[in-house]
């Protein structure tokens, strides 16, 4: 609730954005159906990289994304984001990280229904304590970048899938995050609009030098990125550089 100014991106000690070591995630700990989803995953992502994580369902992609996105904590292992120890943070601190350092783009957009595109883009800024006028100005500018300014007062049910996803990308960018975490962003779109969305990511990557992590099960999309990490049964199977 405190109105602190948005943290400007602090330059990391190295250009390492994500530094994960031996991340383990288990569910139902101590119960007969105990389940280990991630097996000692170690992963480093540099600033400005466009990485894709591929794997079949059940390979642990989503769990890994939840941990990278500070939505969940690992059972063991260490995770540093821009040098900050995420694995040992309290809920309130995790909220702040999600709010200011991470931009989420989801398969089903996850826009708040019955709320205009503009208001949706403003939400992260609202939780960051930015004033109304500034919020509105920035939201309008962001919607302009994704080509949605003329429809900013439309509600999600009045927009097409591709348009909604563009609004969601504008929202992900609203607090100028360190990384954009996109979970199957084209999964609910046809191939044409899917490409449009992918182009938007490429633009963000090239022009704004954003670190982008794309989670997908489509090898074609993965090939467009700089680095492909293949997950299988909770472990990294391949880590190939240079898709593009």
């Amino acid at each position: 609730m405190k109105k602190t100014a948005v943290q400007e991106k602090t330059p990391p000690a190295s250009d390492m954005m994500i530094d994960m070591k031996q991340i383990v995630k288990r569910y139902y700990i101590g119960q007969p159906n105990e389940l280990q989803i991630l097996n000692e995953i170690s992963l480093q992502v540099n600033e400005g990289q466009f990485v894709s994580i591929v794997g079949e369902s059940g390979s642990g992609k989503s769990t890994l994304m939840n941990i990278i996105g500070a939505l969940d904590r690992p059972t063991s292992g260490s995770y540093f984001l821009e040098g900050m120890d995420i694995a040992n943070m309290r809920d309130v601190q995790l909220s702040n990280i999600r709010n200011r350092r991470i931009g989420f783009v989801f398969q089903n957009f996850y826009l708040i229904p019955r709320t205009s595109a503009l208001k949706n883009v403003e939400i992260p800024m609202m939780y960051a304590g930015i004033g109304r006028r500034e919020r509105r100005e920035r939201a309008e500018a962001l919607l302009e970048t994704v080509g949605m300014k003329d429809r900013m007062s439309h509600k999600p049910n009045e927009l097409s899938g591709g348009q909604n996803q563009r609004v969601a990308i504008a929202r992900a960018m609203s607090n100028n995050p360190a990384i954009i975490l996109a979970d199957e962003p084209t999964g609910a779109l046809d191939s044409k609009t899917g490409h449009m969305v992918m182009d938007l990511f490429h633009k963000l990557h090239e022009e704004k030098k954003k670190t982008i992590i794309l989670i997908t099960h489509s090898p074609e999309l993965a090939k467009e990125t700089e680095r492909i990490i293949t997950l299988c049964d909770g472990s990294i199977e391949h880590d190939t550089q240079g898709g593009v």
Binding site: K3, S95, N96, N99, Y110
Partner: protein, 442 residues
């Protein structure tokens, strides 16, 4: 997220679900409007009664009169005969002087009066009926009788047994009908029903108000109506051929004196003087305690009904809680999205809590408006239907509707409180949802 932000969000959400929000509020609206209706009527009745009482004499007035001593046991009662009031049983001028001396700081006036009887006075074709009343100085003021022209009956009129009289404007209207004369200084002659005749000179004219004179028979034509004619109390005694004292007295308590206490002390004082009288004793009664009793009864009734209405408020609160719980399940995904976008648990909690409070407060405000409206409507109905049988005595029945400000503020406070109490649990449940589970909820 600021306070205003929360309110804006809540109002937005309430507007999205207009019908549901309204139905949720309904319990609160009914509860608050009943509380406000009841308290408005209670408050208004109290005010009206106080006003009427004040018009009729004021709270600082004490009445004292002689009452027969009733036998203490039933056997004696059967053979008991109501005693004859003898000359020497009456309250004498000496007793009054003694009393005045003993309580000179607490009383401002002792007013005495003696009733003579009805009579008619004829002026050629014209006539007017009168009800003759002997009074002392202070009687007119104390009874809030408004002198239109001329003067009052004074102490000097009494001591010198003057034939001065004060008549009503109604008397003037019919007695001097079609005659353009100044009534003041005119000599009149009243033929009394008992055969006596009173010669008087008009020294004052007062404003006749039916209410104050207990003349409830409004069906009598105005010109035949008996209005009071006031003469010096000594003159009245002369007509009545009585030399002793008085059956009753009125006491006006001094400014700041406790009339109720003075009433008790007055009884004690006179009953000391009457301790040797086997047949008669002194009784007293004061407006203030009468007013207090009525107020207390009204307060009890108001509180009792308000408590019942408060129960409906609690039921309304449970309704709010129920809808909030449903709404939170329904909006689980929204909560997940907000959390993913950086909403803290506290922000979610305050958002839902504010929503519950805003619903209750809007319900409360609507309830207050309806309650005040109901109060005014009931006041109007009493006036409209009352007018049919009350005629010109409507003054008594005209209720001054005054909503109780305290009740309104307390009601609004309780609306907020109910929002907090019944909104906290659902809000807290929303706040504690895991972001992943909430996000994946279908």
């Amino acid at each position: 997220m600021g306070f205003l932000e929360c309110i804006r969000l809540s109002v937005g959400n309430i507007r999205i679900n207009k019908l549901r929000s309204f139905l949720t509020m309904l319990g609160i609206i009914i509860g608050i409007s009943s509380v406000i209706t009841i308290t408005t009527i209670g408050n208004s009745l109290k005010l009206t009664i106080a006003n009427t009482m004040n018009d009729l004499g004021g709270a600082n007035r004490i009445y004292g009169w002689l009452e027969a001593v009733f036998p203490e046991n039933d056997e004696d009662y059967e053979t008991w005969i109501y005693p004859e009031l003898e000359e020497d049983d009456l309250i004498s001028q000496e007793m009054i002087d003694q009393y005045k001396e003993a309580f000179k700081d607490e009383i401002s006036q002792v007013i005495i009066s003696e009733y003579v009887g009805t009579g008619r006075t004829i002026n050629g074709e014209n006539y007017a009926n009168v009800d003759i009343m002997g009074i002392s100085d202070g009687y007119l003021q104390s009874n809030k009788i408004n002198i239109l022209s001329g003067r009052n009956i004074t102490d000097r009129d009494c001591t010198e047994v003057k034939n001065a009289c004060v008549v009503s404007d109604l008397f003037v209207k019919y007695y001097f009908k079609d005659q353009d004369v100044n009534p003041l200084g005119q000599e009149i002659m009243v033929d009394q029903a008992e055969g006596n005749t009173f010669h008087g000179v008009i020294v004052g004219v007062y404003q006749y108000e039916a209410v104050k004179f207990g003349n409830m028979d409004s069906r009598t034509a105005e010109k035949d109506r008996s209005t009071q004619m006031f003469i010096p109390v000594t003159a009245a005694k002369k007509i009545n051929n009585s030399v002793g004292g008085y059956e009753s007295i009125q006491i006006v308590a001094a400014q700041g004196a406790d009339a109720t206490q003075l009433s008790v002390q007055t009884s004690e004082f006179f009953n000391d003087l009457y301790s040797s009288n086997e047949d008669w004793m002194f009784e007293s009664y004061d407006m203030a305690s009468e007013l207090g009793t009525i107020s207390k009864v009204l307060d009890v009734v108001t509180v009792a009904i308000a408590v019942i209405a408060a129960i409906s408020l609690v039921v309304g609160g449970i309704g709010v809680m129920n809808i909030m719980l449903v709404s939170i399940i329904e909006r689980t995904k929204e909560i997940g999205i907000r959390k993913a976008l950086g909403a803290k648990n506290g922000s979610i909690r305050i958002q839902f809590l504010t929503e519950a409070i805003v619903i209750c407060l809007i319900g409360g405000l609507i309830g207050v408006l309806i309650g005040v409206f109901n109060g005014f409507m009931i006041g109007k109905l009493v006036t409209v239907f009352g007018a049919d049988f009350a005629g010109e005595y409507m003054d008594v029945l005209t209720i001054t509707i005054q909503p109780s400000v305290a009740a309104i503020l307390i009601s609004l406070f309780f609306s907020i409180l109910i929002g907090v109490i019944f909104g906290y649990y659902p809000a807290n449940r929303a706040a504690k949802m895991s972001p992943i589970d909430a996000l994946r909820y279908e």
